[in-house]
C-alpha cells in the first residue's frame, strides 16, 4: 500500500489552511479497500474483473447514473458540524466499498445470498452514499456550495469583481501535493511507466513486489477499477511526447497556482483580522477539505469508481432476471442506516 506523505506547512503561505484531514480520510478508505482486496484475493480480483469485459466496464457509469437519476432516494436533511459530517462521510464511503466487495463475491459465485437480497443491499449502499452526495440537501456538494457562498460574502470587496472571482477560482483549485483525480492519473501513470515500461500482464503485476507492486495496485484501484486491459489502454492513449508535454504543462501551472494561492491566503488572513478570524478560517478549511474529497475520493470510490462497478453489475443482473423489486422510501431508509451503523470505523 502506497504511503501518502503529509504536505509540509511551509508551502502553504502565511495563512496555513490545513487539508490533511482530506488526505487522512482518503487514506483510511484506501487502506480499507486494500484490505478488502487482500481478503478477496488479488489474483482472483484481477481475473474476476477481466472476465467482466471491457464493454460492460465502459458502460457501467452511464447505466449506474441512469438508475440513480431515475430512482427515488431517501435523502434526509441532516445538519451537522464539519467534523461529524467528515466522519459520517468517511463511514458511508467505507460501507460503500464493503458492499462493492460483497457484490464481487456474489458475481464470482462465492455467496449464499439470493439475487433479491444482494440487489436490496446494493440499493441500500447507493442510498447511503447518496445521503452524503450530490443529491442530498446536506451532502458534500450542497455543503461545499453553501460554505463557499458564505466565504464569498465575508471576502467580497465592492470593486474589481473579476479579480475577486479569480481569487475564489484559485482557492478552489488544488495544489501539489493535493491533486485532483485527473492530475493524479497523469502522475500515477508516469510512475507506473517507470516501473513497467510496457503494459504489465496480470502475472507480471502479481509477481512484482515492493514499490512496483504498490504503484501498480494504486493505479488499478484508483483509475481503472482493477481492469488490467484498462491499464493497458493508457499506454496507447498517452503517446510519449504528448503525454510528457501535458504532464510538464500541468506541473508548471500548478506551481503558478501555488504562488497565487499564497496571495489569496494572505487576503483571507487580512480579512480574518477584522473580527471574523475563526469563522473565516473554519470556512476556508471546510472548503479545502470538501473540495479535495470531491476531486479524489468521489471519482475513485463512489459509483464511478472501483466499488461502483460490481454494484452496477448486480443491478443489471437483477434487471435481467426481472427481480427489481420496488422498495418504499422507508424500507430503503431503514436499510441504509442499518448498513451505516453496522460499519465500524474509528473516527478521525
Amino acid at each position: 500500500m502506497m504511503k501518502l506523505q503529509n504536505p509540509t506547512l511551509d508551502r502553504l503561505g502565511d495563512f496555513p489552511v490545513v487539508v490533511n484531514l482530506a488526505l487522512d480520510i482518503l487514506r483510511k478508505v484506501e487502506d480499507h479497500v486494500s484490505q478488502l482486496e487482500a481478503a478477496f484475493g488479488r489474483k482472483r480480483l484481477l481475473k474476476t474483473i477481466f472476465k467482466v469485459g471491457p464493454e460492460a466496464i465502459s458502460q457501467h457509469v452511464a447505466n449506474h447514473r441512469r438508475i440513480i437519476r431515475n430512482g427515488n432516494w431517501p435523502n434526509e436533511v441532516r445538519p451537522s458540524s464539519f467534523s461529524v459530517f467528515c466522519n459520517e462521510y468517511m463511514r458511508a464511503a467505507i460501507a460503500y466499498a464493503t458492499t462493492g466487495f460483497e457484490a464481487l463475491d456474489f458475481l464470482a459465485g462465492n455467496s449464499n445470498i439470493s439475487i433479491e437480497k444482494m440487489y436490496f443491499r446494493v440499493l441500500c449502499s447507493e442510498a447511503l452514499r447518496g445521503q452524503y452526495g450530490k443529491r442530498s440537501p446536506t451532502g458534500l456538494d450542497q455543503r461545499l456550495e453553501r460554505t463557499t457562498e458564505d466565504l464569498e460574502s465575508c471576502l467580497r470587496s465592492t470593486s474589481d469583481e473579476d479579480a475577486f472571482t479569480e481569487d475564489v477560482n484559485t482557492f478552489c483549485t488544488p495544489i501539489t501535493p493535493w491533486l485532483s483525480a485527473e492530475a493524479a492519473l497523469l502522475e500515477d501513470f508516469s510512475q507506473l511507466r517507470q516501473h513497467f515500461i510496457t503494459p504489465p500482464t496480470i502475472d507480471e503485476i502479481l509477481s512484482s513486489d515492493g514499490i512496483p507492486q504498490d504503484v501498480a495496485w494504486n493505479f488499478l484501484r484508483r483509475h481503472v477499477k482493477w481492469n488490467v486491459l484498462g491499464m493497458s489502454r493508457f499506454y496507447s492513449e498517452f503517446s510519449t511526447s504528448e503525454f510528457c508535454c501535458s504532464l510538464n504543462t500541468a506541473r508548471a501551472e500548478r506551481e503558478k497556482i501555488c504562488e497565487k494561492h499564497r496571495q489569496v491566503n494572505k487576503k483571507i488572513a487580512e480579512k480574518s483580522k477584522f473580527g471574523v478570524e475563526s469563522e473565516v478560517f473554519s470556512m476556508a478549511r471546510e472548503i479545502k477539505v470538501l473540495n479535495q474529497l470531491n476531486l479524489t475520493l468521489e471519482p475513485y470510490y463512489s459509483f464511478k469508481g472501483s466499488p461502483g462497478l460490481p454494484q452496477a453489475l448486480v443491478m443489471q443482473e437483477a434487471s435481467r432476471l426481472g427481480v427489481c423489486h420496488s422498495y418504499s422510501l422507508d424500507e430503503l431508509n431503514a436499510g441504509k442506516w442499518a448498513l451505516f451503523h453496522s460499519t465500524n470505523v474509528k473516527e478521525i
Binding site: S58, V61, E145, N169, C172, S180, E182, A183, S246, R254
Partner: protein, 115 residues
C-alpha cells in the same frame, strides 16, 4: 446565393482562451476515441475516463458544472479554453462542422450555411 446564420451558446468560462475546431459530442465512452488533436470536446460533464481525449482536445464545452467541477480544475491546470454550463450544447452542436470556443467571454459560436 449563399447566406449564413450565426449561432451562439452562452456558458460560464472556466479557463480563458480561444480555439476553433470540429466539435465531437461525447454521449458514451466509445465517442472519446473520435476526439482527434485539435477537436473540441463537447459533453454533458466530464470524468476521469475522458482524460486522454481531453489532452487531445483544443477546448472543452460542457452543459453542466461549476467552479468545483473536474472540467474546471483540468482547464486551469492545462490552460485549455473551457466553457461550462452551455445548455443543450450536445444537441445543438451535433451536426456542426466547426465551432469557435471563446472562453474569454464564455461563448460558443458557429455559422450555418443556407443556399
Amino acid at each position: 446565393m449563399e447566406t449564413y446564420t450565426q449561432h451562439r451558446l452562452e456558458g460560464r468560462s472556466a479557463c480563458i482562451g480561444v480555439a476553433t475546431g470540429r466539435p465531437i459530442i461525447i454521449r458514451n465512452q466509445s465517442d472519446l476515441d473520435h476526439v482527434a488533436i485539435g477537436d473540441i470536446l463537447v459533453a454533458i460533464e466530464t470524468d476521469i475516463s475522458y482524460v486522454p481525449a481531453m489532452l487531445r482536445a483544443a477546448a472543452i464545452v460542457t452543459e453542466t458544472g461549476g467552479r468545483f467541477c473536474h472540467a474546471a480544475i483540468w482547464a486551469r491546470e492545462h490552460r485549455k479554453p473551457t466553457v461550462l454550463q452551455a445548455a443543450n450544447a450536445t444537441s445543438m452542436l451535433s451536426q456542426v462542422p466547426s465551432v469557435l470556443v471563446d472562453a474569454n467571454t464564455g461563448y460558443v459560436e458557429w455559422d450555418t450555411r443556407h443556399e
